[in-house]
Amino acid sequence: MGKLYDELIKDYRVKEGLKTCINCGTCTAICPAAEFYRYDPRKIVDTVQSKDEAEIEKLLKSDVIWYCGECMSCVTRCPRKNAPGLVIMALRNLSAKLGYFTCSEKGRQLLPLTRILTGNILNYGYCVYPDTFKWEDHVESGPVWKWHTEHLKDNFERLGANFKGEGPGVLRKIPQESLDELKSIFDVTGGTERIEAVEKYSEQKAGELGMDIDEYCRMTFEKISPGHFNSEE
């Protein structure tokens, strides 16, 4: 057994999600991502159970592990009670930890995701928050959302929310002591270390590409190259 496999089987999601895979391909048949992307969860699980270090490293540096939508439809259908979706999560976790995520276009998206989501948690106590869910980045949210974001206070007041208010209620202000507790949780559980690792490896990659980190972050959020989809020639 090699080092990467050893790391993977320490992850509880692999312990829970991978007994012996019989390669039936049911997970791929049910998978919404496999229909859309050039993606085959059966092959991924098989690569992991092969314990082939070179192949696992290739996987960790590839776009492939980032195609899954984590809907977990595969979990219901696997006749062996495996959870390919959990195995994917463990692979992504290791790719993030080792900095391999910067080797692929889809992996590099971890930077904007980390900034948006952990920023929202640590600053506001929510994963999604009105102040950072900008219409300009979400034009699919339609003209009604544009109007809503221009009249946030009025609309939330109209609907009985407690937007940025004290006490309980919809979108209440999370007390500073609670935000401090979240920060403390991030510090002792590896959350802060993960954010720092993603920033560090992304800065290195941005440097290689001769880009400023914010410009790089924007690019990773928006850029899509050919070659990801089944429908492409």
Partner: protein
Amino acid sequence: MIYQGKQKIWADYQKEIPDDKWFYVRSCIRQNFFPGAERMFLEICRNVLGKDFYEAANHTTCGGIAYHCDTIPQETVMTIVARQFALMTEAGYENYVASCITSFGNYLEILETWHEFPELETRIRELLWKACRREFKKPKYIAHASDLIYKYRNEIAEKAKFRLINRQTGEPLKVVEHIGCHYSKMFPSKGVGGAEYPYVLCGMIESWGGSVIDYPERRHCCGYGFRQYHVKANRGYSLSNTHKKFESMEPYHPDMIITNCPGCPYFLDRWQYVIAEMEGKTYGQNGYGIPVFTYEEVAGLVLGYDPWDLGLQLHQVAVEPLLDKIGIEYSPEDKYKGLNRKDIMRPELPGVLKCC
């Protein structure tokens, strides 16, 4: 009672849901996009049905979206959840109800992992103490908020002012129900009806007078996909999955869609707008879309609450065609008003999708 055959199989997927005394935790997405729905849930449970639902002001996100976008380690999300359980314990509650499906799945996954690997639970307890000086008891029961409305569905029907019936034809409305993937695909025994025959929304529809549409892609994901939506470059994934569902349900002519996950109604609503603008195609009648609702909004409608108090003006797909079918009265001029009918302008109209 002795259950046999199919009855026995079905009994395995029934949940004995406690009737009262719940610790309620909110959903990040529902608060942002459907703020009226959460308010309606508590209004119905507390004020209409007289139940005890407690909310702690200092509860936070469960971290589920960040976890499923792979931005935080497993120990981080587990400790955030442990803190939520500590708040429940401190408030003196044992039944825990989540507004969010991602949260519901997150809680179940964590409790199951701790069950399989008790040493991990011990470690998380140590980490929580180190970070927050808090301790917790695990909930005796975890429910999704839709489980509660399902449980109370007949009481709601008894108090209802409207039914899901076309008032002109007298026929039941044709309803698509969409269940969030993390409700029962991971832990089928924890959802009403399991993963194969989830009944949580069907029960409400039938109790309130509608008929349920069965269509080929009924159990397909809405396409949220976490990172597949939050990153702009990936949103084609999300759109394609919703498109697949609408193409599949179109021949059945649904009058409305009901969902139990906070994200699904947003995607099923907004991607209809995008499909209309991109391809000129609409799925409702006369250029409208198919109205999409949360189960709390539908409960509020049948109970006779004002559609604009429920926040239905924040949907992109117009709900008025459905209100007209049921016979619910509404004031068109008040739709986009602020508190005390304050004028706050109105949204622009889309180019293709017909709106009111």
